[in-house]
Symmetry: C2
Subunit: 304 residues, 2 copies
C-alpha cells in the first residue's frame, strides 16, 4: 500500500503514472483541502476534483484545470448578471459542486462525498481529504490578506507574499481514514506539489509531521522544482519571497527531518552531493511528466 | 401606485398584462417567499424568478416555468452523478441562483438581490420579496411532513394534504419596503395565485391582514378558480382537502374581510349573487390570460 500526500495537478499526474505501474487499489491519495472554498453557496474542492477528473481520464490537460470538452453556459450568464465570474466553473464541473454541497448539507462528510464521486467516476485509487474540518490557506500580501483563490486565480499569483497562514489547521483533526493511510502504508510519497501551499497545509495538521518523522525512511519525496523552476504555479517565486532557497535543495531543507529518499530531476544532478549531505538518499531521474514515457519512468523510481 | 400580492405564474401574467396598461414604474409586486428553498447550497426563489423572467420576456410560457431556450448541461451531469436532479434547474437559471447565493453570503438582503436582478433584466416593475426573513411553506400530508417543492415538484402535488404550515411566519417581519407598498398604494390587488400556498404565506406575516382589513375598499382580488377549476396547480384540490369550497365563492370566503372588489370569470356569473351577499363588489370578465386580448381586458377591469 502506497500513500501519496497530494496537491492538485502535479500529484494527479504522479498518481496517474503510479496507477499504470501497480494495482490502483493499492494507492491512496491524502489530499490537501486548504484551497477549498465556498463560492456562490457551493463548496468547491479544487485539489480533490483535479485528482478525480485526472484519474477518470476527464481532465483538460491543455488548460491544466477543469474538464475536457467543458461548456460555460452558467458562467457566461453569471457574467452577464454582473456576478463573481473570475473563478471559472464549467457546466459539468458545477454538477460536482452542486452534488457535494447538497450532500454536505445533508450531513455527509467531505470524505464520504469524495468517495461517492470517486465511485461515480470509476476511479480506483482511494481519495481522502486529509481532514473533514474546514481549513483555509491564506496569503498575507503587500496588498492585504487574500484567500487562496483570490491570490491564485483572481490575481494570478502576481502579488508579493509576506506569509502563508493555514487558518483552522491547529485545531483541525486528520480524518481517521487519512491517518490510517499515513501510518499503515508501506511507503509514503510526497508528490511534486507546491511545498508551501499544497503540502504544508497537510503537514500543519496535528500529528502529520510526527508520523512522517517516525517513519522517515519510508518517506519518498519528488522535487517540485527543476533547475530552480516550478513546472506549474508559483512555487519558485513563493519560496524566494518567503526566504527559502528556490532550488531542489531549498525544498529538501523545507521538508527537513520528514523525508528518507529524495527524487530530483536530471537537471539538478549537481545538487546530489549537497542533498546527500543532509542525510537523505537521492535518486536522479526525469521528474517532468508531460511525456508519458517520462511519467512512467518517474513512477518506477518512486516505487523502486 | 398599484401593489400586487403575488405568487408565481398567475401573478406574473397579471403583472405583465398590467404593465401594458399603465407605466410599469407605478406597479409593485409584493411576492411570496414561502416556497423559497436551499438546494445544492443555492438559495432559490421560484416566485420571484418566475415574475422576473416573465416581465423580462424570458419565460418559457409553454413549459410554464424556467427560461426560454434553456439548456440542461449541469442537471444532466448531476443526474449522472446520482445527485438530486428532480428539481430541474436550467443552466441559465442556475446563474441566477449562484448570483443570489453569493450576494446573500456577502450580506445583501433578499430585497437588494431581487432588485439587482430586476435591473440586470431591464424589468421596470418594482419587485419586493414580502420579507427578508426565512419562511417555509410546508405540507402535513398522509405521508408525513413535506417541504413545498417536495410536495409540489417531486410528488407533483399528488398526495393528500391535511394541513399547510408556514414555518417562521409568526416571527418574520414584513420588509419596510413591502409594508410601505401595502400602505401607500392607491390600490392593492390580490393576484389569481393559489390562495392557500402563494397568498396565505404573505397574509400570515404579522401586520399584513391588518393593513388589508383597514383598507379593504381599496383591495381588488382576481379569482384563481374558473368554474371550480384552477388553471394551473392544485388550488382546487387543496381547497377541497382542507375543507373549503373549491369555487370562486370558497376563495371569497377564504379572504373574508380583506377584499372590497372581486373579479370573477364569466363562467362563474351564477355566483355573483352569492358573492355580493358577502358584502363585496363583484366584477365579471374573463380571467383566463392565455390569450393576450383577454389578459388586456382583465388588466383593464383590475385597473377600472
Amino acid at each position: 500500500m502506497i500513500t501519496v500526500l497530494s496537491g492538485g495537478v502535479g500529484a494527479a499526474r504522479l498518481l496517474r503514472a503510479l496507477s499504470g505501474e501497480i494495482d490502483p487499489a493499492q494507492l491512496t491519495a491524502v489530499v490537501n483541502v486548504g484551497d477549498d472554498l465556498v463560492l456562490h453557496g457551493l463548496t468547491i474542492c479544487p485539489d480533490l476534483d483535479t485528482i478525480t477528473y485526472t484519474l477518470a481520464g476527464l481532465s483538460n490537460d491543455e488548460l491544466g484545470w477543469g474538464l475536457r470538452g467543458e461548456t460555460w453556459r452558467v458562467m457566461d450568464e453569471l457574467d452577464a448578471l454582473g456576478g463573481e465570474a473570475w473563478f471559472r466553473l464549467g457546466d459539468r464541473d458545477l454538477a460536482t459542486h452542486l452534488y457535494r454541497s447538497q450532500r454536505l448539507a445533508e450531513g455527509a462528510t467531505k470524505t464520504e462525498v469524495t468517495d461517492e464521486l470517486r465511485v461515480r467516476h470509476g476511479v480506483e485509487v482511494t481519495l481522502l481529504p486529509v481532514t473533514n474540518d474546514v481549513i483555509a490557506t491564506e496569503f498575507i500580501t503587500d496588498e492585504g490578506r487574500m484567500s487562496f483563490q483570490e491570490y491564485f486565480v483572481r490575481r494570478h499569483h502576481d502579488v508579493v507574499v509576506r506569509a502563508v497562514e493555514v487558518t483552522g489547521a491547529a485545531s483541525a483533526r486528520v480524518s481517521k481514514e487519512a491517518m490510517a493511510a499515513l501510518t499503515d502504508a508501506s511507503r509514503v510519497v510526497i508528490a511534486p506539489s507546491n511545498p508551501l501551499i499544497s503540502i504544508d497545509p497537510i503537514l500543519q495538521l496535528p500529528g502529520v509531521r510526527e508520523v512522517l518523522r517516525d517513519r522517515r525512511s519510508d518517506v519518498v519525496a519528488v522535487s517540485p522544482l527543476v533547475a530552480g523552476v516550478a513546472l506549474k504555479g508559483p512555487a519558485d517565486r513563493l519560496l524566494r519571497e518567503l526566504g527559502h532557497n528556490a532550488t531542489a535543495l531549498g525544498v529538501v531543507d523545507f521538508y527537513e527531518g520528514l523525508v528518507g529518499t529524495w527524487i530530483i530531476d536530471e537537471a539538478d544532478a549537481d545538487l546530489v552531493e549537497a542533498i546527500t549531505s543532509r542525510g537523505v538518499h537521492v535518486e536522479v531521474t526525469t521528474t517532468i511528466m508531460a511525456d508519458p514515457q517520462n511519467a512512467r519512468r518517474l513512477a518506477q523510481v518512486v516505487l523502486g
